[in-house]
């Protein structure tokens, strides 16, 4: 989590845009004239305002005002309007929902709340509005999954990035650094986010082959910032294809063939990558799962997983969880936009 105390440095506009749009391609920058509102636009977000009986306004972020008059039917209207406007993401607000949202936050928030507490509070209030029917969203969130309590979120955060440790993502375009980020945790938050300018300064001249350079980068980051919990090094395009999961490359294969270097590789990454990577990269899966068991919140999960490993001599997250989390993430990223990133080459070079 970041807050106002987080020190962010070493990013130019291009590097930041390249980094963010890897994960949220829908945020790709476009020129002003490309944002003209037209009735033919696809995608975007639909917003329906109603009073519980009638639809009052329908607005679309890529189409503008959408003409619609009619009754509000809780189970049907939002889906019908979303279909009619070719929109996946939609929200319907009952009059007073936003006021209620702010009122509840004002009543419950404390000036000293941490970012984690704030996010948990906001999600909780949103869940209440969903349950009340004051808010509807598409795609519909699963209704039977409770919001995680704050201490469970913090335990998971400890497992992902322990206090004082650093996570790094370093991406290359050919033989030079394309974009990068090194994040260090202090307390519950990230206290430093360093961009490629800083990392280049810390590391000094590189050889141009990320398969060799990663050792130099890791050593420099550990010297300057603290112990590395996880480091990912790859060509930008390879990494983009991996996170979008377009089928042309998969994590396990990429790690095994060293198209992506993960060093160090913490247990949660190894498990997340899946059984093939677990076998290919680390035959020590039992050890990895053992270390997962040390993390309180994951202990039951890890014990079950260890049993699965022992039974099948492999780990199949899909079989174990009923779904493959990496596929779900990739699916969301694939569907969020079809727009390619549009970072003009004149930004910084």
């Amino acid at each position: 989590m970041i807050d106002a105390q987080t020190l962010v440095s070493g990013f130019d506009a291009r590097a930041w845009q390249r980094l963010v749009t890897l994960f949220v391609p829908g945020l790709a920058s476009r020129a002003p004239e490309a944002w003209r509102l037209t009735p033919e636009s696809r995608g975007g977000v639909l917003l329906v305002l109603h009073d519980g009986e009638r639809v009052l306004r329908v607005l679309h972020t890529l189409r503008g005002a959408v003409a619609h008059e009619g009754p509000w039917e809780p189970e049907a209207t939002l889906s019908t309007l979303a279909d009619a406007t070719a929109t996946r993401f939609a929200a319907a607000l009952r009059l007073g929902a936003v006021a209620s949202f702010w009122e509840r936050l004002g009543a419950r928030s404390l000036v000293d709340d941490t970012p984690f507490a704030t996010v948990t509070l906001v999600l909780g209030v949103l869940r209440e509005l969903l349950d009340d029917g004051a808010l509807q969203v598409l795609p519909r969130p699963p209704r039977n999954i409770p919001s995680p309590p704050l201490d469970m979120v913090l335990r998971a955060w400890d497992a992902v990035l322990a206090d004082g440790h650093v996570a790094a993502l370093v991406l290359f375009d050919g033989d030079h650094l394309d974009t990068a980020m090194a994040a260090r945790r202090r307390g519950t938050n990230l206290d430093r986010l360093h961009g490629p300018e800083d990392i280049a300064r810390m590391v000094g001249p590189l050889g141009g082959d990320f398969r060799r350079d990663y050792r130099v980068i890791r050593a420099a980051l550990e010297r300057q910032l603290g112990p590395l919990a996880v480091g990912v090094y790859a060509p930008t395009e390879t990494f983009r294809r991996l996170v979008r999961g377009d089928g042309s490359v998969d994590w396990a294969g990429a790690v095994a063939s060293r198209d992506v270097i993960i060093d160090p590789m913490p247990p949660w990454v190894a498990v997340g990558i899946g059984a093939r990577a677990l076998r290919g990269v680390a035959a020590r899966s039992q050890t990895l799962l053992g270390s997962l068991e040390q993390v309180g919140g994951f202990a039951p999960f890890a014990r079950g997983l260890r049993a699965a490993v022992e039974r099948a001599a492999s780990v199949d997250l899909s079989a174990y969880l009923g779904f493959d989390p990496m596929s779900v993430i990739a699916s969301l990223l694939r569907q969020s936009t079809t727009r390619p990133p549009d970072a003009a080459p004149d930004d910084t070079r």
Binding site: M1, I2, D3, A4, Q5, T6, L7, V8, S9, F11, D12, A13, R14, W16, Q17, L19, V20, T21, S29, R30, A31, P32, E33, A34, W35, R36, L37, L49, L56, R57, L59, T61, G64, A65, L95, G96, A97, V98, A99, F101, W102, E103, L105, G106, A107, S109, V111, D113, P115, T118, V119, L193, E197, D342, A343, A344, D346, D347, T348, R349
Partner: protein, 480 residues
């Protein structure tokens, strides 16, 4: 206010040993003024004491570098001078004082996000908050006293581009606030506008009492100027500051807002953006410059580039913490150098008045969604989309300019009937944003559009010009 070509400097984020290089770097990029946002939170020491002597907070020392380089300065005092500040730039003691907080109908604090923290908004109706704010402004201006001659303008008021809590009926229930009787959307809007106007006037008064002229006061409000009921109230007496919408707002919204700002009786200082904070959606430098070019084409001649120089905490500043220009700074330099090529003269416009009453009536007619209008403007959705009614605006009036005027007569603007404009034919017939400027050499059209293909314009002189989408052009339109 004279023409201003400023770049902002995030003073506290820069090592004082680099200040001289920073000033040189920005002067070398063609800026003639440095814009200094001073953050109350950084300087406040409680009990009416302020720190302007610590090395990174010594603004008077920085201004010596500015003077040595022959530049001018503008200062932003807020409270909340720019976006992305911890706790909106307010001292912690102010944030934590429940007596200063704006209240909801149920007496809860009206909170707003500041990064990943929810911060109670201060009440502008609160006598205590007004006193604290004035005290800060006065103290900051006392610290600037040795360099007062360098300062062209003092900006006071809310500097954030938009607020999450700007909806029409989200009234302040602080005990010092006036409650409308009977309660109605129009009543709440008027009460809210009155509180804000009184607050801004109190800050302006503090600036004048510090020895500055009223013509050096620039007022800031969050959200679009064109949707603020305070602007028609105070624009006849004070200049305003506004932030150019991002590219996501689209060409028409950017053009409309810039034209509105430029047509205010005392003018406006427009903030353009070279970079952003980590919590904002990323925007490429090329697209930020496209917004700036549209602003210049729309007639903006007083501007400040936000994140001219900044250290930690900013993304994409023109000059980095070492005082070195980043590669995209050269592109900004070209753009700033070309700003003066856009025509100056008397702007012709079709009649369109913009009064407090007319705006309040439109805002009160909105369904009380509770959603911030500023957010919708940043997405290119205007008031008219909410109203769901056909209201004539510049974007749907064809090709001729229709600039909202907050006063019957604004210097530099001439209201004309449609038949008085020189001929301008557009093929295909699509909405085109335009200026019609009467210069000494004749009429000049400035045109921009967002149609998917180039459009061809034919002037009274018979000249045919192809105008590409997103590329504003100036075209001679004939003799007067």
């Amino acid at each position: 206010m004279r023409a201003v070509r400023a770049a902002s400097v995030a003073l506290a984020s820069l090592d004082p040993s680099r200040w001289s290089r920073v000033v040189d770097g920005l002067a070398g990029l063609g800026f003639d003024t440095l814009d200094l946002p001073l953050v109350w939170r950084d300087h406040d020491r409680g009990g009416g004491r302020f720190d302007f002597q610590s090395p990174r907070l010594n603004v008077a020392a920085f201004l010596k570098h500015v003077e040595a380089r022959g530049l001018r300065a503008v200062v932003r005092l807020g409270p909340g001078p720019v976006e992305g500040l911890e706790a909106l730039g307010l001292p912690e003691r102010v944030v934590r004082d429940p007596n200063l907080a704006s209240r909801t109908r149920r007496n809860n604090p009206r909170v707003t996000p500041a990064g990943l923290r929810l911060v109670p908004l201060p009440s502008r109706a609160s006598r205590g908050y007004r006193f604290e704010s004035r005290q800060w402004v006065s103290a900051a201006l006392r610290a600037l006293e040795p360099a007062r001659g360098l300062v062209d303008a003092v900006l006071v008021g809310e500097g954030r581009a938009f607020s999450w809590r700007d909806e029409a009926c989200d009234g302040d229930h602080h005990p010092d606030a006036v409650r409308p009787e009977p309660e109605s959307p129009v009543g709440w809007l008027r009460a809210s506008a009155t509180h804000e106007a009184e607050y801004l006037e109190a800050l302006a008064q503090a600036v004048v009492e510090a020895g500055f002229g009223a013509d050096q006061v620039v007022l800031s409000v969050s959200g679009p100027l064109s949707q603020s009921p305070v602007v028609p109230m105070l624009a006849p007496r004070f200049a305003f500051a506004t932030s150019a919408p991002g590219p996501r707002a689209g060409l028409r919204a950017i053009w409309r807002e810039m034209r509105f700002a430029e047509a205010l009786p005392r003018g406006a200082l427009v903030t353009l953006h070279a970079g952003a904070t980590v919590t904002e959606a990323p925007v490429s430098s090329a697209h930020r410059r496209a917004v700036a070019e549209l602003a210049f084409a729309a007639g903006v001649e007083r501007f400040s580039v936000h994140l001219g120089a900044a250290g930690d905490g900013a993304i994409g500043a023109l000059v980095n913490a070492e005082g070195e220009p980043r590669p995209h700074a050269a592109r900004w330099q070209e753009l700033v150098a070309q700003q003066r090529r856009w025509p100056r003269g008397t702007e012709w416009t079709l009649p369109l008045s913009h009064t407090q009453e007319s705006l309040t009536a439109r805002l009160a007619a909105l369904p009380p969604s509770g959603l911030p209008l500023g957010l919708f403007q940043s997405l290119g959705l205007g008031l008219d989309d909410f109203l769901g009614a056909a209201v004539l605006t510049e974007s749907d009036s064809g090709v001729l300019p229709r600039v909202p005027l907050v006063a019957p007569a604004v210097e530099g603007y001439a209201v004309r009937a449609e038949r008085e404009f020189p001929l301008l034919r557009v093929e295909p017939e699509v909405p085109v944003m335009s200026r019609c400027v009467a210069t000494e050499a004749g009429v000049v059209w400035v045109l921009a559009h967002d149609h998917s293909e180039a459009v061809t314009v034919t002037t009274a002189l018979g000249e045919r010009v192809a105008v590409a989408p997103g590329r504003p052009v100036a075209v001679a339109g004939g003799a007067l």
